[in-house]
């Protein structure tokens, strides 16, 4: 594999992201914010702990869906950005597989998770392992019975959409949701790492 993960993380974690004179951050074709992670984990945890058991699956699906759509559009913005062209693209020998490895290096550089592609069956299946991710912070003692890596799950599926789901569609009508993610392990549940299995939807 030609992708130098360390180099990508070193280069792209240094990006200075801050609001301009309008207080907005325009980049990668989207508006970006850089908020304390706790606002998102607090919302997802309070929401999923407050809903009834019958509603839990729906609430979790909506949280994953928000990340899935975010990952699809922002992911496309990332892999077509100047930063990507300068740092990652020269390392790409085999697309889209190397693109996926590069994308997860960027994913780590952005602080979403320290995540790597553990297994990849092109066009069919991907297994992601994350040895640190902010969504695990909802548990500080003991282990939870509920997995909480909604963002990681959604974004992992989105990256497979971008790799194997056909041409990028800015409306999301096609291309998006051709894959789905399932969390199978979680640091918040006492596992050594978080694991997401992505398969065809």
């Amino acid at each position: 594999m030609a992708v130098n993960r360390e180099k990508i993380i070193n280069e792209l974690s240094k990006l200075d992201v801050r609001g301009d004179e309008t207080g907005l951050i325009n980049g990668y074709g989207v508006f970006i914010q850089q908020l304390p992670a706790m606002i998102w984990t607090m919302f997802s945890e309070r929401l999923t702990r407050a809903v009834s058991e019958e509603m839990l699956e729906t609430a979790e699906w909506l949280l994953v869906d928000a990340a899935h759509e975010c990952g699809y559009h922002t992911g496309y913005g990332i892999i077509t950005s100047e930063e990507w062209k300068a740092v990652v693209e020269p390392m790409i020998e085999k697309a889209p597989e190397d693109v996926l490895h590069g994308a997860f290096a960027v994913f780590s550089a952005w602080g979403w998770a320290k995540a790597v592609v553990h297994e990849l069956i092109p066009g069919e299946k991907m297994v992601i392992r994350a040895h640190d991710y902010y969504e695990a912070d909802v548990v500080e003692y003991g282990r939870s019975g509920k997995m909480s890596a909604y963002t990681l799950t959604g974004v992992a599926a989105a990256f497979m959409d971008l790799a194997y789901g056909g041409e990028y569609d800015p409306t999301g009508a096609t291309g998006l949701n051709t894959f789905m993610g399932q969390q199978t392990k979680g640091i918040e549940c006492g596992d050594e790492y978080g694991e997401i299995v992505v398969t065809r939807a």
Partner: protein, 181 residues
């Protein structure tokens, strides 16, 4: 550097792949994520998830602002509001200005708003209030500036960019019997 100028200490923990701003793990997200989370809050009426999202914002930013004021000895309303306005802009939430503030009420104007403009970019103008995160932020800002506690202020939009106005205007009101200190 003047003490009403916000200082953001941004670090990256290479071992854990985490960004920290002033000691708190921070993460980049886009307007799609914020819009879909807001839509989820709007749709989940059984739980009043709009209030839940606003409270999550209030709790988060109350911690951010009170911690910053304490560590940097930021005293006085004007300095505290300036820091709060700068923080809002630095993290990409938009351009916020406190129009007036008193112990019982206040008003802020948003010339730009990530939540509103992101919503419009994604789905167009709406007839619903969407900036629950902004309202939570404003409650946190007033509570922190006045050395009050969380949930002592409430906020609601008088007009908003997402609903077609040129600017958003958020009114803040004291909700305690005790009033201001």
């Amino acid at each position: 550097m003047p003490d009403n100028t916000l200082q953001m200490r941004h670090t990256f923990d290479r071992e854990r792949c985490r960004h920290e701003i002033n000691g708190l793990t921070s993460v980049l997200h886009c307007h799609h994520f914020a819009s879909l989370t807001t839509q989820l809050a709007n749709d989940c009426q059984l739980l009043d998830a709009k209030k839940l999202l606003a409270h999550c914002a209030e709790d988060t930013f109350y911690l951010v602002l009170t911690d910053y004021y304490r560590k940097n000895n930021i005293m006085g309303l004007e300095k505290r509001f300036r820091v709060g306005e700068q923080y809002f802009a630095e993290v990409g939430l938009g351009k916020l200005a406190v129009t007036y503030a008193g112990p019982y009420s206040g008003e802020v104007v948003l010339e730009h708003s990530h939540i509103d403009e992101g919503w419009v970019k994604k789905w167009g103008v709406t007839d619903k209030a969407v900036n629950h995160i902004g309202c939570g932020y404003v409650c946190a800002l007033f509570a922190a500036a006045y050395d009050r506690n969380r949930r002592e202020f409430t906020a609601f939009e008088l007009q908003s960019i997402a609903r077609g106005a040129a600017k958003s205007v958020i009114r803040v009101m004291d909700v305690t019997d005790a009033g201001g200190k």
